[in-house]
């Protein structure tokens, strides 16, 4: 019997020839990531466990992203605790305010993740880096502390669901619409403990950034991880930019998949996830005309250059509706600089958008775009749970940056194809 990508990676990391779904393995972790919310409690737990030195200063990534720059004394104090620990330990990969951005984005931009790796991150969207063919899982602060001290963690080997996607997305339909469609089909708990594997011509056509959007939202089907089958695009990127050569780990032809889906990307229409569930997925046409107060383009799901290009293209030469605030937050300093260089930020601000610094911004409801009672936001982020972005009587509709931009112009949820 052949092996899936997840099985191959976990077998290698635990020193076994093969592993099977359900088996519990202790694996060596290749890289650990923590952010501004999870770093201080993880560092505290590390010390309480009686550890003194982190297991490998070159394999720990610390990125501040949820609330940066600090918005109050609590977050300032937590950030300071993080900086103190980083300096004391000599951790190499530290991305402070103005140097990095959203932790999942910097993993890709700084060449910290590649095919075949085991990445553990103290953030549920750690699965984003599965777009580069790695096995990436989110954990909490205690597991992160255990890895900090030992470089090891136990895993239950997941069974795999495979998605083969044919055809090509028809712009302005984006990879966000595809993953929303998939979550609508699988359900919010449809993939508990499973690995999702994405492959096929539609993925081969996507940029790494577009693939990251899909891998990112695997967790919204409760999956353990989401991996896009890596190809030449990934190896070329890593080789040209970082001189990293990593073999591409792919599933065997006779690997066992618990479920298989075949989809045609050309049939995907613009989608939204309506409140308060990510699997409450509808076609934009079903909710068209719903008035919005805020429109947000950003987050680890859709704050990349592809997303800013699409948003700028749609709002270029037009004005955001007078009732609406359009908030744009590039995912990283690199995306920010690139957008500036390409003239995208000028087009966005001309239209009436505000540009926030690279951070999670409005997505987790901690700063930069918190909603008041009764307000509605159309957002390119990943969760629309009750009170996610602010007051419990506010609402979030999740959509692609194209749909967010079109809706910002019209003041109500709008199919982006009318502006394309």
């Amino acid at each position: 019997m052949g092996q899936t990508i997840s099985e191959k990676i976990l077998a290698r990391a635990s020193g076994k020839k093969t592993v099977s779904p359900g088996e519990v393995v202790k694996a060596n972790v290749d890289i650990l990531m923590v952010n501004d919310v999870t770093a201080p409690p993880a560092f505290e737990a590390f010390e309480q466990m009686g550890f003194e030195k982190v297991w490998d200063v070159d394999r720990v990534v610390v990125g501040l992203d949820h609330v940066v720059p600090a918005c109050d004394i609590k977050s300032a104090t937590m950030n300071k605790a993080t900086r103190d620990f980083v300096r004391k330990q000599g951790i190499k990969h530290f991305y402070d305010v103005g140097r990095g951005g959203i932790c999942h984005q910097i993993m890709q931009e700084k060449g910290l993740v590649w095919p075949g790796m085991v990445l553990v991150g103290a953030d549920s969207h750690t699965c984003t880096s599965g777009a580069l063919g790695a096995f990436c899982v989110g954990v909490g602060q205690s597991d992160a502390a255990a890895v900090l001290g030992t470089g090891r963690l136990w895993f239950r080997v997941p069974g795999t669901f495979r998605f083969e996607v044919e055809g090509a997305l028809r712009s302005p339909v984006m990879s966000k619409d595809l993953i929303l469609h998939i979550i609508g089909q699988v359900g919010a708990d449809g993939a508990v403990y499973k690995a999702l594997e994405f492959a096929g011509p539609a993925f081969e056509r996507m940029s790494i950034g577009e693939r990251m959007t899909v891998a990112n939202m695997s967790i919204e089907a409760s999956a353990k991880t989401g991996i896009v089958e890596p190809d030449r695009k990934v190896s070329d990127y890593l080789e040209t930019r970082f001189n990293i050569q990593a073999p591409l780990v792919k599933s065997d032809k006779d690997a066992y998949f618990e479920k298989k889906w075949t989809l045609d990307a050309s049939k995907i229409e613009p989608k939204v996830a309506a409140p308060f569930r990510v699997d409450n997925v509808k076609s934009v046409s079903e909710v068209e005309g719903t008035e919005v107060d805020q429109a947000f383009v950003g987050s680890c799901t859709n704050g990349r250059i592809e997303d800013l290009r699409m948003t700028a293209k749609i709002v270029d030469g037009r004005k955001v509706h007078e009732r609406v605030r359009l908030i744009v937050a590039p995912a990283s300093m690199e995306v920010y600089s690139q957008a500036l260089g390409e003239g995208l930020l000028g087009k966005l601000t001309e239209a009436g958008a505000i540009i926030c610094g690279p951070s999670c911004a409005a997505c987790p409801g901690m700063s930069n775009g918190i909603l008041a009672p009764g307000e509605v936001c159309i957002s390119s982020s990943n969760r629309n749970f009750l009170s996610r972005m602010g007051h419990k009587d506010s609402k979030v509709y999740l959509a692609s940056p194209a749909t967010v931009a079109a809706s910002a112009l019209n003041g109500k949820i709008t199919d982006p194809r009318v502006f394309a």
Binding site: G50, A145, W154, D189, P364, M366, R383, S387
Partner: protein, 166 residues
Amino acid sequence: MTKIVSKALSMGDDVDTDMILPARYLMIMDESELASHAFEDMKPEFRKKFETNKIIVAGRNFGCGSSREHAPIALRKAGIKAIIAESYARIFYRNAVNQGMIVLEAENVSSLVRDGDDIEVDLDTFKVVNITKGVALPVREVPKFMAEILKAGGLVNYLRDHKDEW
């Protein structure tokens, strides 16, 4: 044999971590302060109920969403002694075990337990009985090493003493 007996607090499917603890409280490190905000938006009345109903009984995918370990910490500190659900989101499950919170899986548990039923959890065997109805609940066996983490009171305590076995 150590046992917990308390009343059930019923919840539905897909209880997410933003419901358990909204993100606006993530910059809080003090556990009692976290506990004071548990379920604040969705069910503010739960806070009062936590005093008498210390065993959460829920449906599928309990704890879905974010990786915040603040969620099980807030529940533990609010007085919750155990959670019995049909299934869990995996990060929440790991985090709860790591916090020493007893998390048990039982098929159909939401139809076998009504809010307010008296529930007994055996802390040695992790067997559960609905005392009110006089029936044992079909709880799945807890893997041995997870039981050890639970008996140590969480991962911090466990690793303090068991670094060689990790």
